[in-house]
């Protein structure tokens, strides 16, 4: 299977999950609706966690540069999935959830930092004139601020407990940083265009765009569309990571490239 096929399969699964959530789960009555909706979200996060874990293992976890990035992504999606399931099942203390949220978000920043730095660490450079690179970074910063600042302000003004506020704040800052780090991902994608690695970075950038859609849904869309947009963003983020993982795995196989 080629990376293009993996991306097509991931896109099909995203569509299937969105349709299932909007037209099947939404028609159900609680508590079945609650369970089915939670199961779909957990499934998407679980797929991302397993995919990232497989790649991390292939690259010997923390031993290699690529392995470290995928290990952190595995940690992020695993904690996200586990804490989500425990939360929906009513198991686990709020403090435990807050700690998991903080660790998960720090892991996400680390993962995207490593992916964003990969080209430089490899001794290569982004392609194109400096002005293009500056514009891409400024655009990413502008989008990140526009999407996340309202949440940061809300958290700052909230009267929730200290740990809970810290967790929410770390989560918001992590969102902002990972949204900004879409810039080096896009520039790396452009540098690798035509090569197998472009699929990895393209899918990772798509995953971040999925989280952007998820974040934007609350602030930019009418109430009737929020839930569907949030779910679409989440499913896209998770399945794009799975497609990126497959593409990364493909680069490590002998005979991956027809040369």
């Amino acid at each position: 299977m080629k990376p293009k096929t993996a991306l097509a399969i991931a896109a099909s699964i995203v569509l299937a999950l969105v349709v299932a959530d909007a037209f099947v789960v939404y028609q159900l009555e609680d508590p079945t609706k609650y369970v089915a909706h939670s199961a779909l979200r957990a499934l998407a996060q679980g797929i991302a966690a397993v995919a990232a874990g497989v790649v991390a293992a292939r690259f010997r976890w923390l031993t290699e540069y690529v392995g470290r990035a995928w290990t952190l992504l595995f940690l992020f999606y695993t904690l996200l999935a586990v804490s989500y399931v425990l939360n929906r099942a009513g198991i686990g203390s709020p403090a435990m959830m807050d700690v998991a949220t903080i660790i998960a978000n720090v892991a996400a920043i680390g993962a995207f930092w490593l992916f964003g730095r990969a080209l430089r660490v490899a001794g290569l450079q982004f392609y194109g004139p400096a002005v293009v690179k500056i514009v891409v970074f400024l655009a990413a910063i502008a989008v990140a601020c526009a999407l996340v600042m309202p949440t940061v302000v809300d958290v700052w003004l909230s009267d929730a407990g200290r740990l809970s506020r810290t967790a929410d704040l770390v989560s918001a800052v992590a969102d902002m940083l990972t949204f900004i780090l879409v810039a080096p991902l896009l520039l790396t994608l452009w540098a690798f265009r035509g090569g197998q690695l472009s699929w990895v970075y393209g899918c990772l950038a798509l995953s971040t765009i999925g989280w952007m859609i998820n974040q934007a849904a609350n602030d930019l869309l009418p109430a009737v569309a929020i839930r569907d947009a949030q779910m679409t963003g989440l499913f896209l983020a998770c399945l794009a990571v799975a497609a990126a993982a497959f593409s990364q795995l493909a680069t490590s196989r002998s005979g991956a490239a027809n040369v």
């Binding site: 290699e64 690529v66 001794g123 090569g195 680069t251 490590s252 002998s254 991956a256």
Partner: protein, 81 residues
């Protein structure tokens, strides 16, 4: 580019499969200068081991050590080194 450098063509072909044509050419330029102090079109077959040593960390970072070693072997095979 000179016809006397099948070395460039072989390296670029293997690298471009992963990095794309542009970045493969950039990598050749960067690492040929760094390791040997020459332009890619001046590369000769005896330069292959040194250039491979210079490229190995870059490939390991992006596609892992095992695949980097396999590509080095393929390049050696294609150049008969």
């Amino acid at each position: 580019m000179s016809d006397a450098t099948p070395v460039v063509a072989v390296f670029t072909r293997h690298l471009a499969a992963y990095l794309g044509q542009h970045t493969a050419a950039m990598a050749m330029k960067t690492f040929a200068k760094q390791a040997l102090g020459i332009a890619p079109d001046q590369l000769q077959i005896p330069d292959t081991p040194k250039l491979l040593d210079a490229l190995r960390p870059m490939l390991s970072t992006l596609i892992g050590k095992q695949r980097a070693e396999e590509i080095a072997l393929l390049i050696r095979r294609d150049l008969g080194v």
